[in-house]
Every structure is written in C-alpha cells, then in structure tokens.
C-alpha cells in the first residue's frame, strides 16, 4: 500500500486533482472565496472557467451559495482555509448543506498547524466541529493519493462532506495502484504487536516519520491510518485497539474533539480496553512559523513522537 521508492513531493496537488475531476464531471462546480490562488486552483479557473465560481471574500455566502448551487443540479466544492469554513460559516454548513440530500462538499485547506500564520489561520478544531453534525461526512486524507481518491468518492456521497485539503509540498506516500479509498475504511500501514498508533491526515505522515525511528530502535509498533472520521468504522477501530495494550493517537488537530477523542469514545462504548494517549495539538494556542518549527514546539516532530511512543512502549 505504501510506496517503497523515494518519497516524491507534489508541489500543487489540488491543481491537477481539481482539473482532473472537473474534466470528467461537468456537474462539478469549484467555488472559492478569494483564495483560489492559495488553494492552488489554476487550471480549472483558466481552462474550465464555467466550472469555477468566486464569491469574493465572504465565507458565509460561499457556503450558502454553494448549497443553492447543489439544489439546482450541480455538485459544489466550496474551497477556503479550514479556519474560515468552520469558524465563519459553521451554521451555513450545518443548516444550508447539512440538512438536505444534495451532495455539498467543503474542502478546508491548511488545517491545524499546516498554516504558518498563527491561531487566526490555524483551525485545530474543524474535525470535531463537523463530526458533531448529524449525517455529515468528515475525511482527513494523508497524502496526494488519498486526497485525490477521497474527493473522487466524495462527489457521490449525499449531503454535507467536509474534507481537509493539502496544498503546497505534499508527499505521495500511498501507491495508487493498490490503495483504494473507501468511505469508512481504515488502513493498516505498519504491522506489529507493541504500541498501536492510530493516525489521520498530516498525523499519519508524522506517524510514518516516527515509525522509521522506532524501527531503527527496535520498538515494536503498528500503525492504522483512519482517513474517515465520520461515518467512523467502529468495528475495524475497536478490533485494532483491543489487539493492543497501548494506543497512541496522532493528529494535526486539537486533542480535544478530534481523532483521539473519537478513539476514546469508541473504546469506552465497548468496555475495558487499552490505555489511549492522545498526541496532537495540545489545548493551547499554537505558535506560528514553519510547520517544522511548530511541530518541534508542540513535540510533534518525529524524534519527539518516537521518544514518547518508546516511553509508552517501556511502560512509562
């Protein structure tokens, strides 16, 4: 499932992902709120201009116009930064998109600490907010392959679909030949018996980096990638978790309400289970800066993650 070759970097994944989708699906309408340049929508805007609509710097309007577009036979994909989609237009997502049957997709770019511009641009709570909307779909893809396939699937999912988007240098980690995104499916990326790592989105990238260090130190572990936050596959996740004594969750999200919270909810529903350690953005205002800097400040860089997981593995 994982590519074994040197990791390739895609500098502008959404440009070709959106162009490919819009070329195949003429009913898709890509929508922006004055951030098309920063979500890397170039070719659709230039070559398929009928399939791109910019509503200006107005996120409530972005979401509610998109909902209207969905009611006239199109599949809208509303794109903006995750912080604006959720914080500025949560009610519109819930009411205008979330209560009807028509497919309405929102992609939140630069989620969590992927945005360098501090807390006003860092949505560390988007996954938790949207998963609290009944019937919503929430997806946090880990790389270019996952992102592309998840979006291809999303255009046929009824109702509100919220996805996190990747922009800029994004690794291609999954082998598109044998990875197949299915809504709700979880993906084992490392097999082992020690600490069970459950991760999503950027968190899965970080977990893979830590995994390399753990392997070199002989720390037994496994890794499960969970791209679908909702509807969550409780059976696959509980089966995985109950096969381990220690679970560590890793996410580019506040450790409150995100993947870690979700895993503890599933385990507590089931009964006695493993200890769960939630790693992610702590419940504090994160700093700004490069992603590498912010990760190091929050102990989310590979050495810090590996050290923490090794300590857990040693019973600390």
């Amino acid at each position: 499932m994982l590519l074994n070759t040197d990791i390739k970097i895609d500098k502008a994944p959404f440009d070709h992902i959106s162009f490919d989708l819009c070329s195949r699906r003429k009913d898709v309408m890509l929508m922006s709120a004055d951030l098309s340049k920063y979500t890397q929508i170039v070719r659709v805007k230039k070559e398929l201009s009928d399939q791109h609509l910019d509503v200006g710097m107005a996120e409530q309007n972005l979401i509610s116009v998109a909902a209207g577009v969905s009611k006239a036979g199109y599949v809208p994909i509303a794109t903006t930064f995750a912080c604006y989609a959720t914080r500025r237009a949560y009610d519109q997502m819930m009411i205008c998109m979330g209560t009807g049957p028509n497919t309405s997709i929102v992609i939140g770019f630069t989620p969590g600490i992927a945005n360098p511009a501090r807390i006003h641009h860092q949505a560390a709570e988007d996954l938790g907010m949207i998963r609290a909307i009944p019937d919503a779909t929430v997806i946090d893809p880990m790389d270019v392959t996952d992102f592309k396939q998840a979006l291809d699937a999303a255009v046929d999912i009824p109702g509100l679909v919220y996805m996190r988007g990747h922009r800029g240098d994004t690794p291609i980690l999954l082998n598109g030949q044998n990875f197949k995104f299915e809504l709700g499916k979880t993906y084992p990326l490392r097999e082992g018996k020690g600490v069970g790592i459950v991760a999503t989105g950027h968190g899965t990238q970080w977990a893979l980096e830590a995994s390399v260090l753990l392997q070199s130190r002989g720390v037994d572990h496994s890794l499960l990638h969970v791209p679908t936050i909702k509807p969550v596959n409780e059976t696959e996740i509980s089966d995985y978790c109950f096969a381990h004594d220690e679970i560590v969750t890793i996410e580019n999200h506040n450790i409150v309400t995100g993947l870690g919270s979700l895993i503890t909810e599933i385990i507590s529903n089931t009964g006695r289970g493993p200890r769960v350690t939630r790693l992610g953005i702590p419940d504090i205002w994160a700093p700004g800066g490069t992603l590498a800097y912010i990760r190091s400040q929050l102990a989310l860089d590979a050495p810090a993650l590996a050290e923490k997981i090794e300590a857990i593995s040693n019973g600390e």
Binding site: M29, D50, L53, V55, G56, A58, Q60, N61, S64, V65, A66, A67, G68, V69, S70, K71, A72, G73, Y74, P76, D91, Q92, I95, C96, T99, G100, P101
Partner: protein, 280 residues
C-alpha cells in the same frame, strides 16, 4: 383589457381572503405566526396563483425559497388552496409530532431550504439562480425574507453577489412590517432606506404596498421586464392586515401563543368578505 386586469385582481383578492381564512384556521388550536401569515396573503395569492408558472405535474416550474421560516404559515395557507396540503393535516401545525413544522426543513413540499436560521435564504436563492442560469434554464427564483432579517450580514453578502452576477432571474421579496422579535425594527436596529441600499448593491428596487394586489402584480411585471439585474420588492405590510378586528387587537404580535377571543370574529369577518365577493 383593463376589464380583464380588474377581474384578475378581484380573483386574486378573493384568493387572498381564502388564504387568510386558512391561516386563522391553522393557528386556531395552538397559535403560531398568524399575523405574518395573514399580512402576506396578498403576496401569496399573487405569487402562487399568478406569477409562478406551473408545470405538467401541477407543481411549480419557477422556484420559491422561503428564508424566514416563520412565514411558512403563508405557504401553508396558499398550498391548501392549491391542493398540496389538506386543512386536516395543516391543523396539526405546532402540535407535538406534527409534520407541519413552524419553520420547515428542506424537503418538505413547498420548501426548498431549511428555513429558520435567518439570513441564509437570499444566498441560497442566489446560488440556485446562478446555477439555473448557467444550465440555460428559464426558471425564475423568488425568495421571501423579512426586514428584521436584513440585520444579518449574510443577506448583504448575498446581495453583493447577486448584483455582481446580474442575476435577473432572481426576485427578492421583503416582508417589510417594521417588526422583529423584540420590537419595532426601526427601534432595534433600523434598516431603512431598504430600496436604496439594494440599488447600491446592483438591484432594481421597488417599494410597494404589500397588501395591494394591484401593486404586487405590477411589481412582479416590472421584475420580469428587468433583464440586466436582480429585482427586489420591498413590501410594506402590517400584521393581520386584511382582518380588521385582529389587526386592531394584535398590531405587534410577532407570535401568537394562543388564539384570542376575537379569532372567531376574525373568521366571521373573512366569511363576510367572501360572501361579498361571491355576490360581485
């Protein structure tokens, strides 16, 4: 020709009386937004029985988007006459477990959006209008919202978008009754001058008496003839307009928790008006 127009106006005025009667009947048991429903009866009669075109399935070719969910009572009163709802069902309005919601959810017959979180209808209607135009449809999109709703920023984002896109297939209908939940709109947060504000956003605007069938029809006609920009009808109305006894008793009743003693008098007043129409 003038005679035909006068007959048409008379027919729609008769329909408006029936809608008013339905609204009072629906709210008889458990109250509701009766004042708005009665006040909007003339607009409803013109919209549902003259302006919007129907298709072969006896449903509407054009699309109506209700933004302020409370005014659903207007739609119920009209669609009872159109035949899509029975009065028996509508009388469960406001009852536990009813399917006749005070503020309906998307998918209920006659309601294109989940109406109730104010300010979201104008944008959704603009989105529908944009997409219908893009696919070459001739559908016209009508969206009703209220003057108090103009305090929501989302409305002005929608207006800016609709004006910029020159959505001439879009008509906003504003129930301008100078009343919101906690008082007169002009006292809570004034919204006037409404037509001028929309004109500044690229609309053609017309202020009319929202209880004059003649003026409403003329405004709809003007909207149809406006081919380069969206249109807004600022309809001055007052609660319970058309039912004198209730208008005098409940001029500021944003919500009626229980039908008053004058309710029967109001129904009698409407029956009397219906009889006069029948004689004419």
């Amino acid at each position: 020709m003038e005679n035909n127009a006068a007959v048409r106006i008379s027919e729609l005025e008769l329909m408006a009386i029936k809608i008013r009667r339905n609204v009072l009947d629906i709210c008889m048991q458990r109250g509701g937004y009766a004042g708005q429903g009665v006040a909007l009866a003339d607009i409803a009669a013109c919209l549902y029985f003259d302006e919007m075109r129907t298709d072969n399935n006896n449903w509407y070719h054009d699309r109506f988007v209700l933004s302020n969910g409370h005014d659903a009572i207007m739609t119920y009163g009209a669609l009872a006459e159109q035949g899509s709802y029975s009065m028996e069902d509508l009388r469960t309005y406001n009852a536990d477990g009813t399917k006749i919601d005070q503020s309906p959810i998307e998918g209920q017959l006659g309601f294109e959006i989940t109406a109730g979180s104010l300010g979201q209808g104008p944008s959704q209607a603009a989105g529908i209008a944009y997409a219908e135009r893009l696919k070459g449809s001739d559908k016209r999109i009508y969206c009703l919202f209220s003057d108090g709703e103009l305090q929501e920023g989302n409305v002005w984002e929608a207006a800016m978008f609709a004006g910029h896109q020159k959505l001439s297939n879009l008509v906003y209908i504003i129930d301008n009754n100078d009343l919101q939940a906690t008082g007169a709109t002009k006292d809570v947060l004034g919204v006037e001058p409404v037509p001028e504000k929309f004109e500044a956003f690229g609309f053609a605007a017309k202020r009319i008496n929202g209880n004059s069938v003649k003026e409403i029809l003329a405004a709809f006609r003007e909207a149809r003839n406006t081919t380069d920009k969206p249109f807004v009808m600022v309809c001055d109305t007052s609660l319970f307009a058309g039912v004198d006894c209730l208008q005098a008793e409940l001029p500021n009743a944003h919500y009626v928790a229980k039908a008053s003693a004058d309710w029967q008098a109001g129904l009698k007043e409407l029956e009397h008006k219906l009889n006069i129409h029948a004689l004419n």
